[in-house]
Amino acid sequence: MPKAVITGLGAVCSAGWGMDDCWEAAVQGRSGTGRLDMVEVGDEDCQVAAQVPARDGNGYESSVFRLLDFYRFAEAEALEHAGLDRNALVSNQRARVVVASHGFAWKSDEFAAASRGEKVDGHDLSLHFRQPVESAHQLIGGDFGDRYSGVGTACSAGLVALLEAGEMVRSGLADIVIAGGVETAIKEAMVTMYSRLGALTTLNDTPETASRPFDVTRAGFVGGEGAAMLVIESEKSAEARGVTPLAELAGYGTAVSTAHITAGSVGGEIQALSMQRALDNAGAGIADVDYINMHGTSTPDNDLSESEGVLRVFGDAAPPVSSTKGVTGHLLGAAGAIEAAFSVMAIRTDTLPPTANLNEVDPRCKLGDYISGSARHTPCSGVLSNSFGLAGSNASVFLRQL
């Protein structure tokens, strides 16, 4: 079976435009969260967000253009990194594109506005989010025809897109796949829905520390936005092009739990299954994992159940873990992609980023080594990265140094 390798990275998030800026912020634990000023959300409990800073001082005509700009920037950076030309890929029948998005970019705000001050809960509002996504998908990947796939599995979608790309390469269906996620989720509707679901942070007084995964005082996630695209290709293709791979996309796993609409499985059982399947798929053992980039949303439930899941798989041998969402906020459909990119950078630089704003680990989170404070410089040749979605869509990937 062909090996799937990663040859290019591109990203934009609240911490900056470009992979270097994003990674530097992750390593420094520098949060990109601030007061929510993109949209008006009335008196909702959450008033902070991890917004992408304006580029060239220009705003966007609509959230669709915002999404497209994020996507095109990340894609262009990844392709340049990999030494590839997009036009050549469009005409290459062995090249594909897989893009994940949660689908929040659209015109649903008026529904949220209509509910302002009324007793309409987040569940009802969630009905109205899936506005016509097709226009943006056509703009993103329409020129690839049926070699373009859009993936939507909630907050695990960015990682599922990489899984899709890996399977395409391993099965021989493609030589090169541009894969990742893009999100422009900071919308009135998103804030309203997740706020009313009790999932968003209420720590409004200090926005930069509002996302604090695993901390005993964590109070919910911070909505983020941005994009991350990775170039996944067969090892043979990279060799033929004379490109040195950044890492191997060695294995992946998914597992499903619909025990609860927003909560993870009890005791992290299904999350553990996802991780174990990723390791098995890679032919790796727990000793091969030097670091876990956790889903770590900063919600009380996720961070606890994910920790429990890691304990189930690794026991006392659990490696150091951290969540980069303390820096980026939660990019929802793009989260898995940017965190996989960070995981590649951890391998490339032997640097494990800290969890920003983690001052006191929740005593119920019982792993032995939550990285906090500053980055850790240590040999790193294998990384597990997790993404878990609402309603039980769980995914994990294992990345390995070549």
């Binding site: 209509a114 009324e118 056509q138 373009y148 993936v151 269906l173 619909t258 798929n281 309603a391 039980g392």
Partner: protein
Amino acid sequence: MRAFVDASAKIGFGDPYELNRRELVPFRHDRRCIGDFEFLTLACFKELLGAEGQMEGRRCGLYFAGAKDTMRLDAELHEYLADKPDRVAALTQFSEELNPLVALEWLTNIGLYLAVKEGIDCWRHTQYINHSHSDHSAVAAAVRDLSIGAVDVGFAVVAIAGPRFDEVPEKVGAVGVRIVAQGDNEAGDVFEVVSRPQPELLLEMQSAHSVVGHGSALAIELPVNEPVGS
């Protein structure tokens, strides 16, 4: 890449079907589009699952296709609410009885709900939302994953509800196939998996399989293109 369709199902798309089958899910909605959508997806998927226990010990992949017309449902809802004097009340009424599990990510969650309910071992799950050919993405992914042994059986399903509240168009329905790696008609005709405006691919696959007959398998081929310039 070759695989085999060993079961297929079609609900609607011109065939009459009964709407009020609440036994499928406890939270089925009576509103036409949403009710149809839930019913169609679940009924189709349940039919593909086959007899109780048939999936036991098999690693399953679920590949659901989101539909343009389903997304259009939201636009229709917009219209529905537009002339209501109290849109919040109308929205709340509309959502009454609807389980939030369905609302967040329509197809995936409906499928995942039933998968867990039926106790199937789900090793891959994806919802494709590229609308012009998402059923092709679903079928291709199932064949791909079967070909490398990632799953033992794949389910590719697309459902379309709508496009309008006040009519039952021929285009409303759900269609899906169950795909396995081994079949019984190696020498028979081969159906080529090539994309076309959805849901035509799955409708044609279902039709072709029905000609082969229940209990038999239809060979399908996913073209693997040669590299350009190499």
